[in-house]
Structures are given as C-alpha cells and as structure tokens.
Symmetry: C2
Subunit: 198 residues, 2 copies
C-alpha cells in the first residue's frame, strides 16, 4: 500500500486527543504552509485561510465555543459534545478554516449559488489535506462545524478574539493533538455500492 | 518530500488529456474502490456515489453535456470550454461524482442548510481523493461542474443515459486520461497569507 493510501486509511476522527507529543502548533503550521497552496480551488481563487491556534488562545477559543453551545444545544447533544470540546481545549491546538469572502467574490465568477458550492468545495479540500498532514505528523484530530453562520454574525466573536479580518468566514474547526485512544470502529458500505463502472 | 506531498504537488488541472496509456477505466475503478470508503463524511453518512464512465458511454456523456452547454453558454465561454469537452470525450474516461440524497437525508440530522454544506464537503473530499488516486496512477484529470441542478432536473438526462437511481444528485465530472501537455503555470499567494499561527 502506498504512503498516500496508508494515510487515507489512518485518517480517522480522534476525539480523545491530548498534549502528550513533541509536535508543536508551530510544526503544524509549517506543515500546512507546505501543502495549503496545493489545494484546488475554482478558478484558482485561493480563498482558504487557515489559522493554527494554540496555548491560551486555544483555551479561550473553546471556552467561547462551549459558552455558546451550552445555550443552543439540547441536553443530549451537549452531553455528547462536552468531552469533545473539553478535549479540544487541552489538546495541542486547533486549525480554524476560514474562507476569505473578498477572494471568493473577486475570484469566482457566476451566480451566488455556484460560488457557495465552489467555496465549500475548496474549504473541504483544505480540511482533508490538513487532516492528512496531521496524520503524517502522527497526530489525531477531529472536525467540527460550530458557529457556522457568518451572515448571522455567529463567528464574529472568534474573529475578534484572534484579531482576524472582517471578511473571513469561519467554516470549520479541527482540534488536534496526541492520540489518546484508538478511533471508533467505522461501518462502511460495500465498495461495489459506492463505485460503479459503466 | 513524502509521497503524499509529492502527489499533492503533482495534482494539477490537466485539460490536454488523451487515451495514450495502458491504464484502463477498470484500473481506475479498482483504485477508487480502495480509497472511496476512507473519505470522511458527516455522521459517517457515506452519501458519495462514484461512476466511472468509459468508451461509448463516455462519448455519449460528453455529446450530451456539450449539446446542453452549446445552448446555455455565452460564445466566449463556449469557445473556451469546447476543447475541454471534446478532449474529455476522447480521453480514457470520466469519473462522475454523485451524492445519494436518500443516504444524505437518512444520515445527516439537522436543518437543510447544514445538510447541504456537509453533503458538499463530502463530495469535495471524494473529488480530491479521486484526483490524487488518478495522479498516483500517472494520469491527468480536470474537474468540471456542468449540469449542477438536480432540483431543476438538469442532471436527469445523465442519470437516464447511465441507468442510475433517481435519488443520485450529480455534483461534478472528472475526465481523465494520459497527460498530453504540461499543466499551466499556477500563481499562488504567499504561504504566510494563507496560514497564520496564533
């Protein structure tokens, strides 16, 4: 199996993550700088902006997210999500994925619906690329979508906390750290149902 | 540089593609079967369905797409896209990316807006994974989004041509084949603008 396919297979959602590793947030940022420009984007619009948050900022980030989620989630979901949020707070750091709306506006022609699809595709590609880069570093990570809602200002507090441009729309959060427990078993449907030759 | 990073760097949009290769559509389908179940999806909803089309079906597919596009594109865009569509027709084949709306409905809780975002993220992740798998096979590919519009029935003719389920929504088309010309130069913004450490 090639290294690429091995990475794909090893890339799983790790919710039990910690800080028991020598790999730093700075190492992660360096790895991302190597790969993020390879992420495909419609019309080469390059709207992805990635922020690696660690230390006190990472703790403030998750305090902020948890504060909001405590008010909006139902009890069952909150009970499920609390250890994930607490784990993220104490892990090595978090990759925040933004799309620069100015770059998207300037770079992608066409109607707003298509622009939104392309923007989401680029962000997802950046998320997967980053996740594989973390896997290559031996780290675990999971992917969350708290505070989606640029239009409604839901992500404003995070931009303000980190002093980020107004035009950056938050798409996803990827806390990362040492792998403290194996990933859960994953049920997959048969390859023959997902891939068809015609 | 690791094999993974090399693949990321080699993965480019190749518009000049042909059939001068021993790699078959069947080889491509086999490679996709190895990787497609590794693609992350929200709540493990696994809505991605991939169809590898080759030979006469591939020619019919691109005749169909070109027939529609000739009616809807402005002259400049049509002139630009015509060689890409003609090239796709004569290449080894095309990977069609669908999302099974039944799987998405059943697998992703929450409101329709969030479901749509997650669905697009999964499809984009499948597209990038497939593109890297093609790169690993030494093939070139490009990515198109003709006939987006399941709601409006724009993708119905393609489902009918290939006898695919009603619930499968077409998201993207990736024609692939031998690399007949190098990829164009690509301008990238500075890594420091895309990746920030906080």
């Amino acid at each position: 199996m090639s290294q690429f396919k091995e990475l794909l297979t090893k890339r799983r959602s790790h919710y039990a993550i910690g800080a028991n590793t020598d790999v730093t947030a700075s190492d992660v940022a360096a790895a991302l700088k190597e790969v993020i420009s390879t992420v495909p984007s419609a019309f080469n619009s390059q709207g992805v902006r990635v922020v690696v948050v660690s230390g006190e900022n990472n703790q403030k980030l998750w305090d902020l997210i948890k504060g909001v989620q405590t008010q909006v989630l139902d009890e069952g979901t909150l009970n499920y999500m609390t250890p994930i949020m607490d784990g993220a707070r104490e892990a090595v750091g978090t990759i925040l994925f933004f799309e620069d709306r100015d770059a998207v506006e300037a770079g992608i022609p066409g109607n707003p619906e298509r622009r939104s699809v392309y923007k989401n595709h680029e962000s997802a590609n950046a998320q997967l690329t980053a996740w594989l880069a973390l896997t290559e570093l031996g780290l675990g990570a999971n992917l969350q979508h708290f505070n989606i809602g640029y239009e409604q200002g839901f992500d404003r507090a995070i931009r303000e906390l980190l002093d980020l441009p107004e035009a950056w729309e938050l798409v996803a959060e990827m806390p990362f750290g040492s792998i403290e427990a194996p990933a859960a078993e994953k049920e997959v449907i048969a390859a023959e149902e997902q891939v068809i030759l015609k």
